[in-house]
């Protein structure tokens, strides 16, 4: 009788631990974050045994966390650097779940004063500090608030590579450094003379994306132009999945790539990969 009950208790313990909720953390790009957060919620509704805690920090932080093993999933909105890739090769899968456009954004007041399209050369001149007043571009006589991003941010890498020629290029014209997409969006929306860089999903009435001139043709930062490849500052959004991840984690990543997961990608405003 005693033996039986001990056995029963042991069995219960095992079954409890088998049913215990698995918690994993996903860290990195604040561009990928909304997709991850919504997918985690949808997945949790179907599989209560997996809880995904999503936090930002930037692509560099996401990749570093995976390399150091402090997170179970990494998020990045840029390609890995060769040094980073060397540390990931062989034990971490780099999966692209969506793509988007890095929009060159300006404050509403700037947009309405007539700055609705800029060439790459003009944007580069602003970030290099060669152009400091909107007047020089046909706008109002106002100094330009040039918003740069922290060096670890994926958006910064992609933007600097497309505009300034190298992903770590200096931006001498920068007036202020911002961090997450939300922080940048807030600075732009609260200013009357700002220019910045944001994923197309962060555009709104206060934060307008300008068209980028390519061979004399104005290309708007829209998903359609990412799809047809005409928008010059586009990129893939990456997820990093370590090979030793649990089956649940792997299943969650499959969910991101499934029809339902890709519908979330589309809903957030990015281009699905499938």
């Amino acid at each position: 009788m005693i033996k039986e009950s001990i056995f029963l208790m042991a069995a219960m313990c095992v079954s409890i631990s088998a049913q215990a909720v698995e918690r994993i953390s996903a860290v990195g790009s604040t561009t990928v974050l909304p997709v991850m957060a919504q997918a985690a919620e949808a997945y949790h509704a179907m599989h209560p045994d997996l809880t995904v805690t999503v936090s930002g920090g930037g692509s560099g932080v996401g990749i570093a966390s995976i390399i150091q093993g402090t997170a179970q999933l990494g998020m990045a909105s840029r390609e890995t650097s060769p040094e980073e890739q060397a540390k990931l090769d062989g034990h971490v899968d780099n999966i692209v779940i969506a793509s988007d456009a890095v929009a060159v954004v300006v404050s509403k007041a700037v947009y309405e004063s007539g700055i609705q399209q800029l060439s790459i050369a003009q944007i580069a001149a602003i970030y290099r500090g060669k152009i400091r007043n909107w007047k020089e571009l046909g706008g109002l006589d106002k100094r330009i608030l040039v918003i740069d991003k922290e060096a670890s941010r994926g958006t910064r890498h992609v933007f600097a590579k497309a505009v300034l020629g190298s992903s770590h290029a200096r931006a001498e014209g920068a007036s202020i450094i911002s961090g997450s997409n939300n922080e940048e969006q807030m600075i732009v929306s609260r200013s009357d003379n700002a220019i910045g860089m944001l994923s197309n999903a962060w555009l709104n009435d206060e934060v307008r994306g300008v068209d980028v001139l390519v061979d004399g043709k104005a290309i708007a930062p829209t998903i359609e132009h990412v799809r047809d490849g005409s928008y010059p500052i586009a990129r893939g959004l990456h997820i990093f999945l370590p090979h030793n991840a649990t089956a649940e984690t792997k299943d969650f990543v499959q969910f991101l790539l499934s029809k339902q997961g890709q519908a979330i990608v589309k809903h957030v405003g990015y281009l699905p990969v499938r």
């Binding site: 570093a64 966390s65 608030l145 770590h168 007036s175 450094i177 961090g179």
Partner: protein, 265 residues
């Protein structure tokens, strides 16, 4: 304490070894180009601290004098409760208040490109150290025995004479501790400063220009630590920033510990 220092020295050693102490006054910080000049952040930290003290010390002292010498006892306790509540609010809340209230105000008042600047950081910090300053000074004033006050009154001193010749000199050790604790907090505060300072790694032009975005040591560490790979030179340089902060804080607390006689600082 020694373990902490040893850890910081150890972690930042590759940086000191490869770049040397001259990085303390080098002005370019571009981790990707292996340029690790600490000067912009050191100047930023110093300015933020000075501005904070410039506002908080007179205000805190005045509040302490008013509440312990002038106001009736019920008001005193209310004021103290308020100050203690102010002291308990998490720093990120101060940062958010700064973002939503202070920055637009600064931007409009001084007609600036952006309100993110050293003045904003200093003002937020002053709000955060004001309670410490006031509570410490108030305690020091209250500890002065009633006999001393009566003696001063009997000597026919008027109110300002009593304040300047008897009360403040007596309370000075406590006031000084308040100042030093406030300095320590303004030195180490990260979150609120990070939100309002602008995080631009550039020495202010000219150096007394506190209305441009700048960087402090704490906000640099807060912004970049997540990305720096453990053991890399960037990591080591950030640890060096930490070491500079720790050494400054230790100097401050040694000053605070030192027995004082009269107006010696």
């Amino acid at each position: 304490m020694l373990i902490l220092l040893w850890f910081l020295v150890d972690a930042s050693w590759p940086f000191w070894h490869d770049f040397g102490i001259s990085q303390l006054w080098a002005s370019e910080w571009y981790p990707y180009e292996s340029l690790y000049g600490l000067l912009p952040a050191i100047i930023g930290t110093a300015w933020a601290m000075l501005i904070a003290m410039f506002i908080a010390v007179p205000c805190g002292l005045a509040a302490a004098i008013v509440s312990s010498e002038i106001l009736p006892i019920t008001w005193q306790s209310w004021m103290r409760l308020g100050m203690e509540m102010l002291a308990g609010i998490p720093s990120v809340v101060y940062g958010l208040i700064g973002l939503w209230v202070l920055l637009p105000w600064l931007q409009n008042t001084f007609d600036l490109l952006t309100g993110h600047n050293l003045l904003a950081a200093g003002m937020i910090l002053s709000l955060m150290i004001l309670p410490t300053m006031m509570v410490m000074s108030q305690d020091a004033l209250r500890l002065i025995p009633i006999e001393q006050r009566e003696a001063a009154m009997n000597m026919g001193m008027n109110w300002s004479q009593r304040l300047l010749r008897v009360l403040l000199p007596q309370a000075w050790p406590g006031i000084r501790s308040g100042i030093l604790l406030g300095l320590g907090r303004s030195l180490g505060e990260t979150m609120a400063v990070m939100l309002v300072v602008g995080s631009l790694d550039r020495v202010p032009q000219p150096i007394y220009n506190i209305l441009e975005p700048a960087q402090t040591l704490t906000s640099r560490i807060g912004r970049e630590m997540g990305e720096a790979a453990f053991g890399s030179m960037h990591f080591s340089a950030l640890m060096a920033c930490g070491l500079v902060l720790a050494v400054a804080a230790i100097c401050l607390s040694l000053l605070a510990q030192r027995k004082s006689k009269g107006f010696v600082l």
